[in-house]
């Protein structure tokens, strides 16, 4: 059976599984729909959070980015995991103790202001739509690249699946499908990694192979990689061209951004208590770490394998018979272009340009000592996708990787849809515009806005594929979450004196400064020479986070203190079990034990 058939089987079986789970876990109340009834087990929630968090970018693109960036890729590894420490220590347990449904819920109540709630809704919607466009695009790419289904049709199939379990099951349906999706994606990621690690280092544990020696020698794998890439004119693998200030700022923007992302925070509303929220954050990071500690090994192995098999290989054109030509090249003592390269070339992810006309594929960096121009341009995403074939693994493993990539994209898309639908039905309709609405109507509006959001997301996915700007806007999502949402949530818990004037100022300062900086340097031709303190747009959220917090504190001190009942509320959420009556009447629910 060939690769495409295996892919169809895996994708079909996993999709059937997701739909089955959705039917089994239908939501019957707003509580089920928004927070899965507040009674998800911490370990289960940890697993769902991991799937929610790890997107198509984590699964498909991150290892490839690291393969190219070497040490520079560390910003993603530390940034996208370290945020969970902030979540567990500074936000999750307290927000759970607060006991409501959404992030704007907290902002609106803590800062006793509908305007603050609406600003938070705007931030949450912006961050989530930015993110979801990338996921839908990922779904389209997976379908068109592997199953031969057109890009647009792929996005529509993805939309139908997500529609089904998000609209029907809400948070409850999403939670249990995410658990299944985590299992699929982590299996699909680690199996090829283990085989590749065995081939290169002889160690079955990729994390140990990463720091081990090349198989059958006593040369460290990373030392060999450094030598190989340096000789081809690239930067050493363990170094970077980014400045230390920039590496610091990007890592920090990603960390604080992670902690401020609404779709991650709301997962911690689904557990029973503040203590369960802490434990759950720990388990979420365990499940995330399985992939995130494997990724640097996959990146390094992939870079090594790619150079070994492709550099200096004799190219075979499409009109020649691959088998006979390859046999001739080998007989003449040469190295033919590998078969996996030929099969992936059709997708446009690899490109060979024979500049010196010798028919040999020279792969070189910008400072090649032999002065030869680079002729091979691989797309970063190729490294995870082609990994199983590069390692000579059977066709079913590739089918597994396809199903894994789709699981990663769909699980993140679903989590984001929840944020969008609850922001509209709960925060805008119920809490701001029509407070007298009953539960049943709210649930209907929630389903309706989830459905609307699926359609918008699909259209954004189609649109984004033409503009190709997703990667740039994702930096925006993190910077915005770090600069506008993190400071006011953190100060709302740890500083009683923070009032509504301060909070609104902080959110607006964070929103406007980050947006302007990114737009100027990404889309209006700003150059690196003009960066403030040498910080790139990816890292600027970290700087503006301090600016937002600083102005918010200043404005708070210059205006009246928050009312006594708000100060009592803050004291209550700091100490588990003391929260009494707040919110019961407003459609929220204090945690029960």
């Amino acid at each position: 059976m060939d690769q495409a058939n295996w892919s169809f089987i895996f994708v079909g079986v996993t999709f059937a599984l997701y739909i089955g789970i959705a039917i089994w876990s239908r939501a019957s109340s707003t509580e089920d729909f928004y927070v899965a009834g507040h009674d998800v087990h911490p370990v289960i929630n940890g697993m769902a959070t991991a799937a929610d968090w790890m997107s198509a970018a984590s699964f498909l693109s991150m290892a490839g980015l690291i393969a190219f960036l070497g040490y520079g890729g560390s910003v993603y590894l530390m940034g996208w995991t370290g945020g969970y420490v902030l979540l567990a220590l500074l936000l999750a347990p307290f927000l759970r103790e607060f006991g409501k449904f959404t992030v704007p819920d907290f902002v609106g109540d803590r800062y006793y202001s509908s305007f603050a709630r609406v600003v938070a809704v705007v931030c949450a919607l912006f961050v989530s739509f930015t993110y979801i466009a990338g996921q839908m695009k990922g779904v389209g790419v997976a379908f068109s690249g592997f199953l031969g289904i057109p890009f647009e049709a792929g996005i529509i199939i993805g939309m139908v699946i997500v529609f089904f379990y998000a609209v029907l099951g809400g948070m409850k349906g999403i939670t249990y499908t995410q658990v299944a999706q985590y299992c699929v994606l982590i299996f699909a990621y680690t199996v090829p990694a283990i085989f590749v690690s065995l081939i290169i280092t002889g160690n079955a544990v990729p994390q140990l192979g990463f720091i081990g020696n090349v198989k059958g020698t006593d040369i460290a794998m990373l030392d060999k990689l450094n030598t190989v890439v340096r000789d081809l004119g690239f930067l050493e693998y363990t170094s970077t061209s980014k400045s230390m200030v920039d590496v610091f700022a990007i890592t920090a923007a990603l960390m604080f951004g992670t902690a401020g992302l609404p779709h991650v925070i709301i997962r911690f509303f689904t557990v029973k208590s503040a203590q369960a929220a802490r434990v759950s954050a720990g388990w979420a990071l365990v499940f995330i770490a399985v992939l995130y500690t494997t990724a640097p090994a996959v990146g390094a192995f992939a870079r090594m394998n790619f150079i070994d098999t492709v550099n200096e290989a004799s190219y075979i054109a499409d009109d020649e018979d691959y088998e006979t030509r390859a046999a001739t090249i080998i007989a003449q003592g040469g190295k033919p272009v590998p078969a996996w390269y030929k099969s992936w070339e059709k997708t446009g992810l690899l490109h060979y340009d024979d500049k010196n006309g010798d028919g040999i594929m020279q792969y070189r960096g910008p400072n090649a000592p032999d002065g030869i121009a680079n002729e091979v341009n691989p797309n970063r995403d190729i490294f995870v996708l082609a990994n199983p074939q590069i390692a000579g693994l059977p066709g079913w493993v590739i089918g597994l990787v396809v199903a894994g990539g789709l699981a990663a994209a769909l699980s993140t898309a679903a989590g984001l849809l929840m944020v969008i639908s609850s922001a509209i039905s709960h925060d805008l309709c119920r809490r701001t515009l029509f407070p007298s609405m009953n539960d049943k109507t709210e649930l209907r509006i929630a389903r309706f806005s989830a459905a609307g959001a699926v359609v918008c997301a699909g259209l954004l996915g189609l649109f984004a594929s033409q503009l190709g700007f997703v990667a740039q806007v994702v930096a925006f999502a993190f910077g915005l979450a770090a600069a506008s949402l993190f400071p006011i949530i953190f100060l709302g818990i740890f500083w009683k004196r923070m009032n509504k004037e301060g909070a609104i100022t902080a959110m607006l300062v964070g929103l406007v400064s980050t947006t302007s900086y990114i737009i100027y340097f990404k889309f209006m031709g700003g150059t690196a020479a003009g960066w403030w303190f040498g910080i790139s747009p990816e890292g600027i959220g970290f700087l503006f986070m301090w600016l937002a917090a600083g102005t918010g504190i200043g404005v708070s001190l210059a205006t009246p203190a928050p009312p006594q009942d708000i100060q009592d509320l803050v004291e209550d959420i700091r100490v588990p079990g003391t929260r009494r009556s707040h919110g019961m009447a407003e459609g929220g629910m204090a945690p029960t034990k």
Binding site: I66, Y71, G73, S74, L77, M78, T81, G82, Y84, V85, L86, A88, L89, L90, P93, Q207, L208, F210, I211, G212, N213, A220, M221, L222, D223, T238, M244, V247, F248, T251, A252, S273, A274, Q275, R278, V279, A281, G282, L285, V286, A289, Y292, T293, P296, F494, E571, R574, V575, P576, G577, T578, K593
Partner: protein
């Protein structure tokens, strides 16, 4: 963690002492969080790279693998320590 605040003897939770102990614990853990990632992985990376763990330069390893292991350990330590604090100060869970 050296939590030095007195334990209460009656049943009412000592919310003030509990909160200051919580803040002390949080700050200590965040210092470790900062040290392993920004410290070992970025600021002092060049110095640490003079040492190695297996075949990897130590600073590079912290940035790509080591910091993540410490993050996991930090959260679970925090859970345990908070459970103890809640017991000590009579906070109902």
């Amino acid at each position: 963690m050296g939590v030095s605040t007195m334990a209460t003897t009656d049943q009412k939770p000592d919310a003030k002492a509990y909160w200051s102990a919580t803040k002390r614990l949080t700050v200590s853990l965040l210092i470790i969080w900062f040290t392993v990632s920004y410290g070992a992985g970025i600021l002092f990376r060049d110095q640490l790279d003079n040492f190695s763990i297996g075949g990897a330069p130590l600073g590079f390893w912290f940035a790509q693998n080591g910091a993540i292991y410490v993050f996991v350990a930090l959260i679970f330590y925090y859970c345990r320590a908070m459970t103890k604090l809640e017991k000590k100060f009579g906070v109902k869970r």
